[in-house]
Amino acid sequence: MARYGMVMDMRTCVGCQACMAACSTENQTPFWSEKFRTHVEDKEVGTFPDVRRVQLPRLCMHCENTPCLSACPTGATHMDKNGIVLVNNDRCIGCYACCIACPYDARYAYEREDVEKEHELYGKDVSHETPHVDKCTFCVQRLKEKLEPACVATCPTHTRIFGDLDDRQSEVHKLAASGKAQALNQGLGTSPKVFYIPS
C-alpha cells in the first residue's frame, strides 16, 4: 500500500505541454473539446519592468481531505488504497457537485458528444463508454504495470516527480519534505498530495 503523490518543480517547466499530449493519448481525454486532465498554466508574474513568465502544471491534487468525495452523492468518486482519487464512471450521474466542490479546477464533463467522438476516433479501443465527470487518475492503469503516469514519463525537463510519499528513500518524499515544496490552497485544509517547488 502506497501513498502516491507528485512534486512539480516549477524551476524546470518550459511549458512545452508534452504532458497534456501524453495524458490525452494515454487516457483518451476529449482534446477535440479542449478538455484535459492536466494543464500547464502560462502566467505572467510581477509588474513592468520586473515581469517574468511562470509555467504552472496542474492536475488533480488527490487531496487527503477530498471536497469532491464529500460532494459526490453516488459514491462514484472514491479513494483507492493508494490514496488515488478515482471516479467510477458507471456510477457517476453527472450532477457536477464534484466540479463545484473541487478547488483546483481538476474535473470536467465527458459529455455524450465526447463519447460519440471518442468512438469515432478510437473504435473498439474506447476507454469511456458512458458520459461522466472525468479527472486525473495518476494513470492508475500504468501504475499496475509498474510504469509511471504518462505525463511524468513524457516530461522532458523532469518537472514532474512521482512516487510514494511514504517511501522515505523516494525522490518525491525527499522533495515534499524538503521545505521547498508547497501545496496549493493550503488554507482550505484539503491536504493535497501534489506539491510545487516555486520558480
Binding site: 471536497p67 452523492p73 453516488t74 450532477c95 478547488p103 461522466h132
Partner: protein, 306 residues
C-alpha cells in the same frame, strides 16, 4: 490568485433551487395555516397541489441538467453529500404532501372517483392524522427550502457561496416566495375566509422581506470586506442592472412598500380591498426570488491559487 466565474451550474439549476424553495415553503406555510388558522380545504388543496407541481418540475430541471439522469437512484449512496440529503428531504416531502392532500381531494368532483377507490380505512386514517401530517409536511417543506442553500454552499473555492449566510438567505427568500404565492392564491379566491388569510400572509411576507433585507445586508457586508472571490462576486452583482433593478428594487423594495401600505393603510379587514396592488406585489416577489437564484449562481467565482 485568479477569480473565474463558475460555468458548471446555470439557469436550470437556478430554476430547481427556486422551485425547491417555493414548493417547500408553500407547503410549509400552507400546513401551518391549516394548523393555526384553519383555512378552507379547497384553497389548501390548490396550494399543496401547486407545491407538489413546483417540486416535480424543479426535479425535472435538475435531472435534465445531469449527464446520466436515469441513474439518479444512485444519489442515495453517500450521506456525506448534501444531494443525498436533498433526495431524502424531497422524498419525505412528497410522501407527506401526498398523504396530506388525499383527504382534501374530495372537494374536487374531478378527483372524487380516484379518492373513492382508496379503501375507507386508509382515508379515515389520513383524515384522523391530517394535522400530524401537516406538521411533518411543514418540517419537510422547511428542510427542502434550506437544502437548496446548503447544496450550493458546499463549495470551498467559491467564497461567495461558502458561507452560512447563503442557506439562511435562500430559506428566507424561499418562504417569502411561498407566502407570496399563497397570497396570490388567496387574493384570487372567492372564499369568505380568504381576506383574513390574505391579511396574515401579507404581514408574514412583509416580515420575511425585512428579514431578507437584513440577511442581504450582512451577507454583502461580509463579502465586500474580504479580499477574496466573495468580493469579486459581490462587485459583479452590484454592477448587474437586472440584479439591482429586477431583484432588489422590483423584487424586494416595491413589494415591501405595497405590502406595508396594505397593512397600515389598505384596510385589509374589508372585503372590497383593492386586489391589484397585492397581486402585483406577490408576482414581483416571485420574480425577485427567481432572479436572486439566477444571479447568485452567475456570481459564483472560483478562487484559484494560480
Amino acid at each position: 490568485m485568479t477569480f473565474v466565474h463558475q460555468e458548471v451550474w446555470h439557469w436550470q439549476i437556478a430554476t430547481y433551487l427556486f422551485l425547491g424553495g417555493l414548493g417547500g415553503a408553500t407547503f410549509a406555510i400552507g400546513a401551518v395555516l391549516h394548523l393555526f388558522e384553519g383555512c378552507d380545504r379547497k384553497m389548501l388543496s390548490i396550494a399543496v397541489m401547486s407545491s407538489i407541481a413546483f417540486l416535480v418540475v424543479g426535479t425535472v430541471f435538475l435531472l435534465a441538467d445531469m449527464l446520466q439522469p436515469l441513474k439518479a437512484i444512485y444519489a442515495l449512496t453517500n450521506p456525506r453529500s448534501w444531494i443525498f440529503w436533498g433526495v431524502v428531504f424531497i422524498n419525505f416531502y412528497f410522501i407527506a404532501a401526498i398523504a396530506y392532500i388525499i383527504p382534501l381531494l374530495d372537494e374536487w368532483p374531478l378527483f372524487q372517483p380516484i379518492v373513492q377507490k382508496i379503501p375507507a380505512p386508509i382515508i379515515g386514517l389520513l383524515e384522523r392524522f391530517n394535522k400530524l401530517v401537516a406538521l411533518g409536511g411543514s418540517a419537510a417543506g422547511f428542510l427542502v427550502a434550506i437544502y437548496t442553500g446548503l447544496l450550493i454552499s458546499a463549495a470551498p473555492a467559491i467564497n461567495f457561496w461558502n458561507t452560512p449566510a447563503l442557506p439562511l438567505l435562500f430559506v428566507i427568500s424561499g418562504f417569502s416566495t411561498g407566502a407570496a404565492f399563497l397570497l396570490l392564491l388567496s387574493m384570487l379566491s372567492s372564499n369568505p375566509a380568504a381576506p383574513v388569510i390574505s391579511a396574515k400572509l401579507e404581514q408574514l411576507d412583509a416580515m420575511l422581506i425585512v428579514t431578507e433585507l437584513i440577511i442581504l445586508g450582512a451577507y454583502f457586508n461580509f463579502a465586500m470586506f474580504l479580499p477574496t472571490g466573495a468580493r469579486a462576486s459581490a462587485e459583479f452583482l452590484f454592477h448587474s442592472p437586472v440584479f439591482i433593478v429586477g431583484f432588489f428594487v422590483a423584487g424586494l423594495i416595491v413589494p415591501l412598500a405595497i405590502e406595508t401600505w396594505g397593512i397600515f393603510f389598505g384596510g385589509h379587514s374589508q372585503e372590497n380591498k383593492p386586489k391589484l396592488p397585492m397581486l402585483l406585489a406577490s408576482s414581483l416577489v416571485l420574480l425577485g426570488g427567481y432572479l436572486l437564484r439566477i444571479y447568485v449562481l452567475k456570481a459564483g467565482m472560483f478562487q484559484y491559487p494560480w
